[in-house]
């Protein structure tokens, strides 16, 4: 150490700093969750769904939400208007006309898609959201501060907020029945009750295989697209339909994951704290120049 020259000292310190920067860089880019190959999903075949809305009923019962008797769900007049999931109904079924047959309207179940790269998770500033190994995207109520960033971030506009509750309002959305069912290897409530098995629960990979097979066998029945296979980086819930998804009120989305944009901006702003420091340095510089000017002016006045 005694022989250490000035040149050597600069070299080693530069190496150490660059190494630490490199390491921190890596740890920041790593995902907060690992996508399991065996993650589960649900395939919704909208050509099979009969619009009986039993899934809506089962969902409410499962999540202790107030509901009317099961017979009241036979009322098809609710289809007159398009509904969205909210804090009182985590899943809803809508109806769209079938161009080829009046007798077979197209029914589409709507709920959280459980994205592979969830925007809600990345937007949450307190890290309340988590993507589980089985594919479920859930949130921790105890951590939630009610900022509702997740609602803004979601490309499907799914998370709902209990606006009517004055005390302890909570975020509400489909939780894949994680706590009570899917974490224990059971089926989600909606899948279990569906009489026609229009919604199939299984490994996401198997579901995609099955869906491809269906499209191949019945090319007239389906359009050649599985919604959710690539949309916003892939979702756990996948859809088959006989009509373009955009006509069934599915959002038009690219293949890039939604968090990509927001994360890039956020991480850009706060990367290694350089931009804030630079900003303060700039402001400090301006102040210093101004101070100098003022002192010079004062000297001149004197």
């Amino acid at each position: 150490m005694a022989n250490q020259t000035r040149r050597n000292f600069i070299k080693t310190s530069a190496l150490i700093t660059s190494a630490t920067i490199g390491l921190t860089n890596k740890s920041k880019a790593a995902p907060k969750y690992i996508l399991s190959e065996d993650r589960m999903g649900v395939l919704v075949d909208t050509t099979v769904c009969i619009g009986c809305r039993k899934c809506e009923w089962a969902c409410k019962v499962e999540h202790n939400l107030p509901t009317s008797a099961i017979e009241t769900y036979d009322d098809r007049s609710v289809f007159n208007e398009k509904r969205r999931p909210n804090d009182k109904a985590l899943t809803v079924v809508n109806e769209y006309p079938n161009d080829y047959s009046d007798k077979f309207p197209i029914n589409v179940k709507v709920q959280c898609m459980h994205c592979d790269k969830p925007a809600c998770l990345s937007a949450c500033i307190v890290g309340a959201f988590s993507k589980h190994e089985n594919g479920a995207v859930t949130w921790d109520t105890s951590k939630c501060i009610g900022c509702r960033y997740c609602m803004v971030a979601c490309p499907f506009q799914i998370p709902a907020f209990e606006f009517e509750k004055a005390l302890k309002p909570d975020i509400k959305k489909c939780d894949f029945c994680y706590e009570q069912r899917t974490s224990k290897g059971k089926l989600p409530a909606c899948v279990e009750i569906c009489p026609v098995e229009a919604i199939t629960f299984g490994r996401r990979e198997d579901l995609i295989k099955t869906a491809r097979q269906k499209i191949k066998i019945y090319p007239n029945r389906y359009i050649n697209r599985i919604f959710g296979e690539y949309e916003v980086g892939g979702t756990s819930w996948l859809y088959l339909a006989s009509k373009e998804f955009e006509k069934l009120d599915f959002p038009k989305l690219g293949k890039d994951p939604a968090p990509g944009v927001s994360e890039a901006i956020q991480h850009g702003i706060f990367a290694y704290f350089v931009p804030p420091v630079a900003l303060y340095a700039l402001l400090g510089g301006i102040m210093w120049i101004n101070k100098n000017k003022k002192s010079k002016e004062k000297e001149q006045e004197k």
Binding site: I70, D74, F104, P195, V196, E197, A198, T200, D206
Partner: protein, 372 residues
């Protein structure tokens, strides 16, 4: 001991001789469809149904052969909301007669015995193989496909009773077992009026098509919904079809792109005449045969050679009884080979010139006339 061994050997012979089966099963009291799955079995393609065939119900049989009523109770869970369905199988089978037959529900059934839904569709919904729906899904998908067309209703209670209801199941079973679909009348001739100016009439000889081509209803009437006849829930007329769609049923066998006048005319058509159309007279000896006996390939009615030998092989004294044609040959002529007199390949008129210079047929006959 020796006697006993001998007896053992002889016994099967004794039994065999007593129960000798008539080898030519054509004359046994058997339905063809009991053993053969296709309409025209040939030596090359016998299309045999798997054994055991006795009392076996296959997809090619009639509604009466199936069960009358079934209670669908294969899927049961602790907290079921609804009671199992009492399914009037016979009634539904009768209804499906005009829409695709047994195969409509018993799809992908291998040749032979009808297998139940449960043999392919798993009871457990939480399963690894998700390539086909589970049993509950399979049942409902089959039912809903028609029920939605029929009434558009999807209420559970149109088929199920609530588990809490007190109605006894037996009553419903008794009521529904009496139901029968009325026999569908088969029209003899259907007259179509078309907008075509040249030949606006098409006379469809419905009965004749069935008879001559030995057709089942499902050969033409497939995927027909109940609403085709029942307007209860579907009062409005069907949308106008394109020319292609209108001719779809006929174009399976007829060339509908050209030769319009074959079916379209201003005057009603006459019945089918094999001789006038093809030059081969079938009115004498082949009148009792179904078309498929000769026209083996389904839908193909051209390209057959009218030589007798193309179907019958080479005739000789040993395999042809001449009395069949109404003429018993006298002793002299009976000795000859067929070709001595019948030089033509169609064995029509005999030529006498080879031996007799002064005699001609039919003025003089080589034997005496007998009843055919």
């Amino acid at each position: 001991m020796k006697k006993f061994v001998l007896f053992i050997f002889v016994l099967p012979l004794l039994i065999y001789s007593q129960t000798k089966i008539n080898v030519n099963h054509k004359y046994q009291e058997l339905k063809c469809k009991t053993c053969h799955s296709c309409d025209i079995p040939t030596k090359e393609k016998p299309c045999l149904i798997e054994c055991p065939r006795d009392k076996m119900v296959s997809v090619t049989q009639k509604p009466e052969d199936g069960p009358e009523i079934l209670t669908i109770n294969k899927i049961k869970f602790e907290n079921d909301l609804y009671k199992p369905v009492t399914f009037t199988h016979r009634l539904h089978a009768e209804m499906s007669d005009m829409a695709g037959g047994c195969k409509m529900c018993h799809h992908y059934n291998p040749p032979g015995k009808i297998i139940g839904c449960i043999d392919c569709h798993q009871i457990e919904r939480n399963r690894i193989d998700i390539s086909k729906p589970d049993l509950k899904g399979a049942y409902h998908q089959q039912c809903m496909n028609c029920h939605r067309q029929w009434s558009g209703k999807v209420e559970c209670e149109s088929c199920h009773e609530l588990n809490s209801s007190q109605k006894s199941e037996n009553q419903k079973t008794i009521n529904s077992s009496k139901k029968m679909h009325p026999k569908i009348e088969v029209p003899a001739i259907i007259k179509y009026e078309t907008p075509k100016t040249k030949g606006n009439l098409v006379l469809f000889l419905h009965n004749e098509h069935i008879k001559t081509f030995s057709l089942d209803c499902q050969n033409c009437h497939s995927n027909e919904s109940c609403n085709k006849c029942h307007y209860k829930f579907n009062p409005k007329p069907e949308k106008l079809k394109s020319t292609l769609e209108k001719h779809l049923k006929c174009s399976n066998c007829h060339n509908t792109k050209s030769n319009c006048s074959f079916c379209h005319s201003n005057n009603p058509q006459r019945e089918f005449n094999h001789f006038a159309r093809t030059g081969f007279d079938i009115s004498n000896y082949h009148v009792k045969l179904t078309c498929q006996r000769c026209h083996i390939e389904k839908g193909k009615f051209t390209g057959l050679v009218s030589d007798c030998s193309s179907c019958h092989g080479v005739w000789s004294k040993s395999n042809f009884k001449h009395t069949v044609v109404g003429l018993q040959l006298d002793e002299t002529h009976n000795e000859f080979d067929c070709t001595e007199c019948h030089q033509e390949k169609n064995y029509k008129r005999p030529g006498c010139k080879n031996c007799h210079e002064d005699k001609t047929y039919p003025k003089e006959k080589p034997g005496k006339l007998v009843k055919k």
